[in-house]
Amino acid sequence: MAVIPGPSRVPVPRRLGQVALHAALAAGGLVMLFPFVWMLLTSFKGAHQMINSPLDWLPAPWRAQNYPDAFGALPFAQAYWNSFYIAVVNVVLTLVTSAMAAYAFARIRFRGSGLLFGLFLATQMVPQQVIIVPLYLMLSKLGWIDSHLALIVPGFVNPFAVFLLRQFIRAVPIELEEAARLDGAGRWTIFWRVVLPNVRPGMGALGIIVFLASWNSFFFPLIFLNSPELATVPLLVSQFAGQHGATDYNLILAASAISVIPMMIAFLIGQRRILNSMAMSGLGGR
């Protein structure tokens, strides 16, 4: 078959294929983006535009006042701080304790290691909802209901994190550890000074996953928190949506945009790292 030499020397059928693929991916991309675009457009509309028929696609006029109105209606600034510091504490506690457990499973030989690790993995099968009632009762006995302790303390238990870091630690050359041991380093020093610095990419990936999960979580905050000033961002948005009727969708979507935009910016900045970590977590789960 004659190949027409194009400027990039790619055969024509292949170039056509590329065009078709780009067209299909772009069409899919529009479907993925539309809800975000519609959220932003609606968030700038006036209340009267919500009940117009046929509906208005563009805001006329653009009403930026929805943002301060939504932000001021509930303690959003407080909620940002709550979500942020809870996520950071969760990340730190999860990373340190799960790296410790992962190290024990990867590098210390002890009786029952395999069995214990199997049990760790098995607990991941238990849906959160199965333990929610007993957990609520236990935490209320401790006086932690309607307090951030209810989200922080149980939050660090993470068998998946242990599993993922164990994979990373097993890939660290054992010779590094032996060299440190010959120099007289103890277990803790080896863990802290030799192993951890060598699994930094894994820790980074896991940190991002834990941060996102904590920031976006809804079920536990919904059940454990009552006071508005303790609310996390998703909880506040859902309450705001629940309080306002259908005609206030412009305000509800402004509130929703306020909750989404910081994560979007963070994602766009760190997208390579986040996407790679998610891919690793998927493959790591095998």
Binding site: T97, Y103, P154, P159, R187, F218, G285
Partner: protein, 291 residues
């Protein structure tokens, strides 16, 4: 083995193991005990044997919940994973995939509450519902009332679920596809295999472990779906959206029937275990691991 290794292991494991015992194993044991009790959290606790399970299994609300849970899994898992595989294969063959990866992944970093709120204005039936009013204005077709119609609400929830988890599955599949050595596909091509044949004989077997893993995770997470349902529709007003998880929440935190709620939750756990075991059984026949 050094004599002090046991102590070191205990020390390193202590935080996670104690946490797991306190916040997972203990509540699980408590949940199993509660499932055989009648208790509202304040008054007397009384042993009722299997009454809670019997009551749930004969409750039409629970029947609706099981049916809806299964329906949601059947609607989301095959469609969601097939779409993700298609997108991943397309991305794997196209230049400049970073942009698309980011676009498809955006919903994954968005909180489920924001996702539900965004979709509410798309799927709503009033004038502000962009999907229905646009289709009506442009084509004169009246679409179903997605969020209020018990027959359609699970379809709506499934669409939102597939949309919001697509990017994660795409990224995982794409990583799986990139582990296939190009020489393998090249060899098949030289032997005269077309794209379909390459897909069936090379791609699919090579990424079958990834597909298997994603299927197990997708089924489990569809069984546990709560956030989108809670925010998108109120299952109190629309029985079509009642799932087992919602039943657990309703019984526990609205009716304070802690025993009943735990019984429903244990039935969910049993269902999860059953489906996962079946999947592992099926896996032996279809999943290829390099040995």
């Amino acid at each position: 083995m050094r004599s002090r290794d046991g102590w070191w292991a205990a020390l390193f494991l202590a935080p996670q193991v104690l946490g797991l015992l306190a916040f997972l194993v203990l509540p699980l044991g408590f949940a199993i005990a509660l499932a055989f009790m009648k208790w509202d959290g304040l008054g007397e606790m009384s042993w009722v044997g299997f009454d809670n399970f019997a009551a749930q299994l004969s409750d039409p609300d629970f029947g609706t919940a099981v049916w809806n849970t299964v329906k949601l899994a059947v609607l989301t898992v095959p469609v969601g994973l097939a779409l993700a595989l298609l997108v991943a294969i397309a991305l794997n063959n196209v230049r400049g995939k970073t942009f698309y990866r980011v676009v498809y992944f955006l919903p994954v970093v968005t909180s489920s509450v924001a996702v539900a709120v965004m979709w509410q204005v798309i799927l709503a039936s009033g004038d502000y519902g962009v999907l229905n009013s646009t289709v009506h204005d442009w084509f004169g077709i009246t679409l179903p009332n997605w969020l209020d119609d018990p027959g359609w609400v699970i379809v709506a929830i499934a669409v939102v679920t597939v949309w919001s988890s697509l990017g994660l599955n795409v990224v995982i599949f794409l990583a799986g596809l990139q582990t296939i050595p190009p020489s393998l596909t090249e060899a098949a091509r030289i032997d005269g295999a077309g794209p379909v044949r390459i897909f069936r004989s090379v791609t699919l077997p090579m990424i079958s472990p990834t597909i298997f893993f994603s299927t197990v995770v997708a089924v489990i997470s569809s069984f546990q779906a709560f956030d989108q349902i809670y925010v998108l529709v109120n299952p109190d007003h629309n029985d079509g959206a009642r799932t087992i998880v919602y039943q657990v929440y309703d019984l526990g935190f609205k009716d304070f029937e802690f025993g009943m709620s735990s019984a429903a939750a244990l039935i969910l756990l049993a269902l999860t275990l059953l489906v996962t075991l079946v999947q592992f059984g099926v896996q032996k026949r279809f999943v290829h691991y390099d040995s």
